[in-house]
């Protein structure tokens, strides 16, 4: 269902921009209702509730582009905003590839219902949301006496409507809901060093959220397994990436497969299309059309229709993902990725995570990374790491304050086993996998 009022306004502003001299115009309006609460040590620490409403206008005049935004919807303010946008184009240089998408790329007859909407998310009374957070925290705090503290449990919900209209006649929108729960727990090491971890669940549908007891228990377990973490010596070993870190790895890779990175020469994959880069088990897909997933959308940020794109097929790097502008710059066609990746995932394999771990004589089960030490231009990768040490196929003691490093090309080629545990906990998702030959820096 579309927010007709916003859509009408978007179309009106497009017309107004044309009247004020824009050759091309596009308006996006988002209306939301948000709620969030945090419960800590049983007390409600925070309640916040809001209704943000914002408009973004993009205009081109003689291929000179400008973008403006505002949340001031008074008619006179909107008129000033349109004038500001057109005025800005006067000092921008013309860029022949800029502008709205080609008409044939715009979404037609799209399915605006991708299972993104659950009325319950907005209707649920605050007391229930607060109680869910309270139960989550209580589960974690009472799970084990070594859980000594908490940074609270949160419940957040969000319903939204998005509409887009442009001067090519596109006018469409969709709405969605999302809700999430998060819990972080704290435990003290024998030397008094604090260890923390947490767990979360996020869904469009309220009934698909993990139960408070599950979230609380996982948060506690993940915290406890960090106790007594130590450094290991500097060495080269296989690394097993768990679901969370594997997804993070995919998120890093996502930066290297965008058309903008290709155009700017800022990706290590620049001349690798059609080549076998990754291990043969690696198939990576971006698919906005899978219903009910976190990154699903019927059309992209400029109204281009959504479609499934296979980025890697059995280790071969197939294609970059483009919006209209970078597609034109590179003489390609948009892939419907204005606004970035959607549901971006590594296809699962057949092994269970336990089977993958069992195959490692000595190595790291990687559960967390910190820092920003990756460079998608050069392919250099270096991150702070923590996890659990594997000996003779078994998880043994926790490790932290170490670093893992490598080269993204070799890392992709080193993915030798892929698990069967793909779950869309967020829009970038990957199952557990094994990567061979990672350098670990420690003692």
């Amino acid at each position: 269902m579309i927010n007709e009022e916003d859509l009408k306004l978007a179309e009106d502003i497009v017309k107004l921009a044309q009247q004020k001299g824009a050759d091309e115009a596009e308006v996006r309006i988002t209306s939301s209702r948000t709620f969030s609460t945090t419960v800590r040590k049983g007390e409600v620490e925070k309640i916040s509730e809001n209704e943000p409403h914002s408009l973004t206008l993009r205009v081109y005049k003689e291929k000179r582009g400008a973008t403006v935004f505002s949340s001031d919807f008074r008619p006179a303010a909107l008129e000033r905003l349109v004038e500001d946008a057109v005025e800005r184009t006067t000092y921008v240089d013309p860029d022949p590839e800029s502008g709205l998408p080609d008409p044939e790329d715009l979404a037609k007859d799209f399915d605006e219902n991708l299972d993104l909407w659950d009325p319950m998310v907005g209707d649920l009374p605050p007391e229930i949301k607060i109680n869910l957070a309270r139960q989550t925290e209580e589960t974690a705090l009472t799970y084990d006496s070594r859980i000594t503290n908490t940074n609270g449990a949160s419940f957040g919900s969000h319903i939204y409507s998005f509409v887009l209209a442009n001067s090519l006649g596109f006018a469409g929108g969709y709405r969605g809901s999302s809700c999430s729960m998060y819990m972080s727990a704290v435990a003290d090491d024998s030397e008094g060093k604090k260890q923390t971890d947490g767990w979360y669940s996020s869904q469009h549908h309220f009934n698909r959220l993990e139960k408070p007891e599950e979230i609380g228990q996982k948060a506690a377990e993940r915290t406890l397994r960090r106790l007594g973490a130590r450094k290991v010596k500097t060495q080269t070993v296989p690394v097993i990436w768990d679901q969370e870190t594997a997804s993070e790895f995919l998120g890093i890779l996502a930066g290297a497969i965008m058309g903008g990175a290709l155009y700017r020469g800022m990706t290590f994959l620049a001349d690798k299309e059609g080549q076998q880069i990754a291990a043969p088990g690696v198939t990576i897909v971006d698919d906005p059309l899978r219903p009910g997933l976190p990154g699903s959308r019927p059309f992209d940020g400029e109204g281009v229709y959504s479609r499934r794109n296979e980025v890697f097929s059995k280790g071969v790097f197939n294609q970059f993902l483009f919006n209209t502008y970078y597609a034109r710059k590179m003489k390609r066609r948009t892939t419907g990725n204005s606004g970035g990746i959607t549901n971006f995932y590594l296809e699962p394999g057949s092994l269970t995570p336990e089977e993958i771990i069992a195959g490692v004589d000595e190595g790291l089960y990687l559960t967390d990374m910190i820092g920003f030490g990756e460079n998608i231009t050069t392919g250099d990768f270096s991150r702070g790491a923590s996890g659990i040490w594997i000996e003779k196929g078994k998880l043994t003691y926790p490790v932290s304050e170490i670093n893992i490093s490598g080269d993204l090309r070799k890392m992709l080629a080193g993915i030798s086993q892929i698990g069967n545990d793909l779950e869309f906990r967020h829009s970038v998702a990957a199952p557990t996998f094994r990567m061979d030959g990672m350098m670990i820096s420690g003692l």
């Binding site: 800590r40 007390e43 409600v44 620490e45 925070k46 309640i47 916040s48 809001n50 943000p52 409403h53 582009g65 973008t67 403006v68 935004f69 505002s70 949340s71 001031d72 919807f73 303010a77 500001d84 800005r88 184009t89 000092y91 921008v92 860029d95 503290n149 940074n151 704290v186 060093k193 604090k194 260890q195 923390t196 450094k231 500097t234 080269t236 700017r264 020469g265 910190i370 820092g371 920003f372 030490g373 460079n375 231009t377 250099d380 990768f381 270096s382 991150r383 702070g384 923590s386 932290s400 304050e401 170490i402 670093n403 490093s405 490598g406 080269d407 350098m439 820096s441 420690g442 003692l443």
Partner: protein, 480 residues
């Protein structure tokens, strides 16, 4: 300059009809179910950006961020709601929403407001938003030209000019009424160099609460462009970094980011009030080498991290956090200072009216020591000299951190030798501070335009540091 802030009151009154009567009405609604305290944070912010790439101005963007954030505090808890609309009904509705944190006590009555005038740390004669676009484009072109001229290996230059003109007005139920104009200009240059198919990257920026005169006097576009190019070009010759534990010299200025991330966040009072930080319950204890004195100073003139009033309406301060190695104070916001029964430090900050304030850093730095930079380097047999960082992350609970290095050199037999690439520093903040064995006399504030994120909120901050020697730290590299 003294009446700058009264202009803000006039602005909100003439533009949106917000006078003392309106504020008092909304505050009364906020306290209608009880509560210790309520506050209204009015914001009107004009932002503008220009993006320059491939020798042309590619895009201009901008907008207006306006609204009022309403907070109702009850003990350590708070309710928060905002209105993007300044009409009385919307604001009153948001106030009632925020009041739901209170269980329904006796309604409170706001005290009549008294306007408090703060000193002006960043008076400006001409706000940049009032200057024609062409003058800003000229700055960008100069930076681009300087970067390209630096070395033939420079292949790509991207330059961005950003500015904001932010007017804030804060009215609180304790009778406090304050206002401020917070300008910010910034120029950032990003360079890609290439030689023999090997890329190198560099970036540099300058930012301050000033008008365009910042780029005339303090930091010229040429300085920013050349510095970005220099970093990109030096990376071309970089060799793989060693892996393992080594002594490390942290360069003056930009290494302040390490102090900010790995120590500063742990000193924010909210974490300590909840006993979540490794510094909790440790006031008066030795937490660093006696060579270390760390301060957070919200009063540095024109710095992007400074504020005339913090985002809860309190005055900024020069706060000593660690004095000769002993922990002396936390960074307080209102809720925490009440909790600790401690004085306010002026560190309540927020990203915008859409966000509730919390304790945040302003300009955080370590004071200079007695040694010279040359003595630090000469004392290292094999180690690393760290100059530039791509960003870091810290585990706030225990101080574990990782920083990526964009510019670093080997130290061999007391001399700086080859540049290294792809290196990380991995360590623990408190542990690293206890391993500081020499502090140099070359203190510098970093001019780089730093932004700090916490719980999803970004605010501009300032950094600084003298050169220091850390006796041992894990270097994550690829050369065995």
């Amino acid at each position: 300059m003294s009446n700058e802030s009264t202009k803000v009151l006039d602005f909100f009154q003439s533009e949106f009809g917000i006078d003392q009567k309106v504020m008092s009405d909304v505050l009364a609604a906020a306290l209608s179910r009880g509560g210790d305290f309520a506050e209204l944070y009015f914001e009107h912010r004009i932002t503008s950006n220009m993006h320059f790439e491939e020798g042309i101005v590619k895009e201009s963007s901008g907008g207006i961020i306006q609204g009022v954030g309403i907070r109702v505090v009850s003990g350590d808890s708070f309710g928060y709601a905002y209105s993007e609309d300044f009409n009385l009904e919307s604001m009153r509705r948001a106030a009632i929403t925020a009041s739901q944190i209170c269980k329904g006590g006796k309604p409170g009555q706001p005290i009549d407001a008294t306007f408090l005038q703060a000193a002006n740390l960043y008076p400006i004669t001409t706000p940049s938003i009032d200057v024609r676009a062409l003058e800003k484009l000229e700055l960008i072109r100069r930076a681009d030209k300087a970067a390209r001229a630096y070395n033939p290996a420079v292949k790509k230059v991207i330059a961005m000019f950003s500015e904001e003109y932010k007017q804030v007005m804060i009215a609180a139920s304790d009778g406090r009424l304050v206002a401020d104009i917070q300008p910010l200009v910034s120029l950032r240059v990003f360079v890609i160099a290439e030689r023999d198919n090997k890329p190198g990257q560099g970036s540099n920026s300058g930012a301050a609460r000033m008008g365009l005169d910042y780029f005339a006097n303090r930091r010229t576009p040429e300085m920013i462009g050349q510095e970005a190019a220099r970093i990109a070009v030096q990376a071309l010759d970089a060799v793989d970094a060693p892996a393992g534990m080594y002594p490390v010299v942290l360069a003056a200025g930009r290494s302040g980011v390490l102090l900010h991330e790995a120590v500063g966040h742990g000193l924010e009072a909210d974490f300590n009030r909840k006993k979540l930080s490794n510094y909790s319950d440790r006031i008066g204890q030795v937490v660093a080498s006696p060579l270390c004195t760390v301060v957070d100073d919200g009063t540095v003139a024109y710095s992007k991290g400074s504020l005339n009033i913090d985002d809860e309406g309190n005055l900024p301060n020069y706060n000593v956090l660690i004095e000769n190695g002993t922990l002396s104070n936390y960074l307080q916001d209102r809720i925490s200072s009440k909790h600790f029964d401690n004085k306010l430090t002026g560190n309540g900050r927020r990203q915008s009216f859409r966000h509730a304030p919390m304790p945040r850093m302003t300009n955080t730095y370590m004071l200079a020591g007695q040694s010279t930079f040359e003595e630090l380097i000469a004392s290292v047999e094999k180690g690393l000299y760290c100059v530039g960082y791509s960003g870091g992350q810290v585990n706030i609970y225990n101080g574990d951190f990782t920083f990526g290095l964009t510019e670093a050199y080997l130290i061999e037999n007391g001399k700086i030798t080859a540049p290294v690439k792809n290196a990380n520093l991995i360590g623990n903040g408190p542990e690293v501070l206890s391993k500081v064995t020499m502090v140099a006399n070359d203190f510098a504030l970093s001019e780089d335009g730093g932004m700090c994120g916490k719980n999803g909120q970004m605010v501009p901050i300032g950094l600084g540091m003298p050169s220091v020697l850390v006796s041992s730290i894990t270097v994550g590299g690829t050369a065995a």
